[in-house]
Subunit: 439 residues, 2 copies
């Protein structure tokens, strides 16, 4: 008897002890598994996450785009019944796929945005049209095998179709689109309809093809390209990096072409410099991986628009980017100080014979190692597959837009007729320091 | 014996039960005492608060201003040794006092900003110069008694002195002022030096005297005036509000003067309308309190600048504001939908004989009660003394600026020389819906 009566309270005590320990743990430790973010309770504030509703778009705007892409290349012969058979093709503009997949995951935790299924609860509306893939569904040179069963696909019609569909949605009209989020990572994505979606948050690579009234750092989010070469798994170090500077890519591009060609001319014969023409192919990517993993610096000249995939390839290669692109905008610049991970040189200096190479040769090994250590710290921001990586950060950036979005929604609806000589804009203007290089 | 042995585990059990209950409570309930903000844990994210360092300015910029003000009016005869003897005078631009006092409190909790005493830890730097009071230290008509011992006080010299002091601070130079916060609630405060502080976050009443390159909704925070009449303590209702429309204030003002005079002419003889000239005095305020507490609508015409204290007097009076000020910017517009609490009418319509009064007479009692219910909900945002009121919200608004501030700091330092035909600005532009009234 006495044994039994002691056992019961003892067990109860043990149980309660465990229970309270659990809650002590819960109470004092942030549920955030990111160990870096441990902060004392007084300096933390609970903010509600931003609620995002993802439109259930007609299939043709999502999986249908992948299907058309695969059919146009003969990857599949006919439409499929099961969407899980469709694989989004590897490309540098795959943010649209990663964001869509992320919102579709059932185990979403630790994100700045929460998916809601009732649009009435939503702060923001995500439009998951695969606008960048849609642009390239029709291959430049259609595969012979694919021609026969080819579906007629017209990206411009898709864009128009999307707007047509949106215009039937009450939530689109309700706030003039201010609370809608569009992904258009390829600088040409959504191009035909951009004026009709410009109130929304645009997820873009740069502003190269967008007007001042269409996109800005204040309203929109700059996305990194998905890197196309494999990440460098090794540590910081220069032993295996014999080459000083590496570049492989298109020599001639539209707007950015001039600087590329000039850099080829100037750097072509410099010792320790590899600068060569290369197109998009698996083989090129393999060669580029090798080059970037064995070089100290990697050149990032402007292409057709100020941004390019190459910057992100360089970052994950721990190859210090040398950015020669005066109008480039960079992803997540509030949390990443790019001067710590890259060298900026203005175009007119960079194309002066001898300038760039002299500049880079002067950089000490210690300095390069510092750059590499910093690159390692921020690498995760450029890994779309990392649970603590790009996708998480994109949603955080989107969530930061909400207060200004709400302000604009409320303000627009009460603005009465005014005599205004110019557009009614709120701006943040830069100082234009005008340095030649950050080195 | 058996009694004793049962008592001990029972007490232990009770103790642990209480302990675990406590931690269950802590774990599941937000520490935020604002009951409205209860959200399930999945929809909450812990964000670190923004760390603010308040400069320990030379005394002449803070208590010294109050002292000079009091001496110029004969409130005190000579400088005091003990700053706690100085009382910041009641005025509509007292945000500077409330923000300063708030940061000086030792028991700050539940704020979006945490005060830090090590500038190295700071995200933002607060410059607590009493710039609005400084502007009015010298009375328009100096009191006879005060003339003798009067200290020579020159606001412009103070402004210059502040900049001189700041320019010796390393943290001011470090990020070109982007991370500094200034309060200049009076539209003329800091006027002489505004171009030198314009990178910072400016806490202002409106943009009436500020250029596009100096201030904007994106960079700055719109503050409410401190209301100057007493809050209405009663409930929503129209029984004790016989009057339709009330206004008391200056008939002639600088820029806004024209509309005021026209409104006086048009509304002067309308039944149920009280519109009279009144200056700043205790007696006027008493009469205004009575008028605003017994009227359904309160007129808010533009003054010298688009904003005025009267709007906030109306709000705390539960007297539905009628805003006739086409260029007015409103505080906290991301969380307050002013269409729910006020009527907006464009100036050209408002001055058409009969228009305004016909519009207001058509409003049903139910609609007025709805407005009043909404006014009650947001009233706290306009109470500087409420711990859950204006000051808390100002800091929240300031904290929201941090990501863009960090972005600008990082970006500005890496921007290389560019050929840009126009200033490098990121803007958010409004649609200019151009309605005549929100009713």
């Amino acid at each position: 008897m006495p044994r039994k009566s002691l056992l019961k309270p003892a067990l109860t005590t043990l149980f309660l002890l465990l229970l309270s320990s659990y809650f002590i743990f819960i109470a004092f430790f942030s549920p955030n598994p990111n160990l870096n973010s441990f902060v004392s309770r007084e300096n933390v504030i609970n903010s509600p996450t931003v609620k995002v509703y993802m439109y259930d778009l007609p299939r043709k705007f999502t999986y249908g785009v992948i299907e058309s892409y695969a059919m146009a290349r003969g990857g599949i012969k006919a439409p499929v019944d099961d969407d899980s058979l469709l694989t989004y093709p590897g490309n540098q503009h795959s943010a649209e796929w990663h964001l869509f997949s992320d919102l579709n995951r059932v185990d979403r935790v630790n994100s700045a945005v929460t998916r809601v299924f009732d649009p009435e609860q939503a702060d923001l509306f995500y439009v998951p049209f695969f606008s960048s893939l849609s642009l390239v569904v029709n291959p430049i040179r259609p595969a012979a095998t694919a021609t026969e069963g080819r579906v007629v696909y017209n990206d411009e019609e898709m864009q128009e179709g999307l707007i047509g569909w949106l215009e039937e949605q009450g939530y689109w009209k309700r706030n003039n689109g201010w609370d809608h989020v569009f992904v258009c990572q390829d600088p040409n994505a959504l191009f035909k309809v951009v004026d009709r979606v410009k109130n929304g948050v645009l997820l873009v690579s740069d502003f190269g093809r967008l007007g001042r009234d269409q996109a800005s750092l204040v309203k929109d989010v700059i996305l990194p390209y998905s890197h196309r070469i494999r990440s460098f798994g090794g540590d910081a170090g220069v032993e295996s990096r014999e080459s000083l500077l590496f570049f492989m890519g298109n020599r001639y591009r539209k707007e950015g072409g001039k600087v590329r060609d000039l850099l080829f001319q100037i750097l072509g014969n410099e010792e320790g410099v590899t600068i060569k023409h290369g197109a998009q192919s698996r083989e090129s990517r393999r060669a580029a991986s090798l080059g970037m993993h064995t070089s100290k610096f990697c050149l990032h000249p402007a292409g057709d628009t100020p941004s390019a995939c190459r910057l992100f390839d360089a970052i994950v290669s721990l190859c210090v980017p040398v950015i020669v692109s005066d109008y480039v905008e960079l992803p997540f610049e509030d949390v990443i100080d790019y001067r710590k991970i890259a060298v900026f040189v203005d175009t007119s200096s960079a194309v002066k014979p001898g300038y760039l190479i002299k500049l880079l040769r002067r950089v000490s090994t210690e300095r390069i190692l510092e750059f590499q250590q910093e690159l390692k710290k921020v690498k995760r921001y450029f890994e779309y597959e990392d649970p603590n990586g790009t996708v998480k950060e994109i949603w955080r950036q989107v969530s930061l837009k909400l207060p200004l979005i709400k302000l604009m929604i409320n303000r627009d609806k009460r603005l009465v007729k005014r005599e205004f000589p110019e557009p009614d804009c709120s701006c943040l203007c830069s100082n234009q320091s005008g340095i030649h290089t950050t080195l």
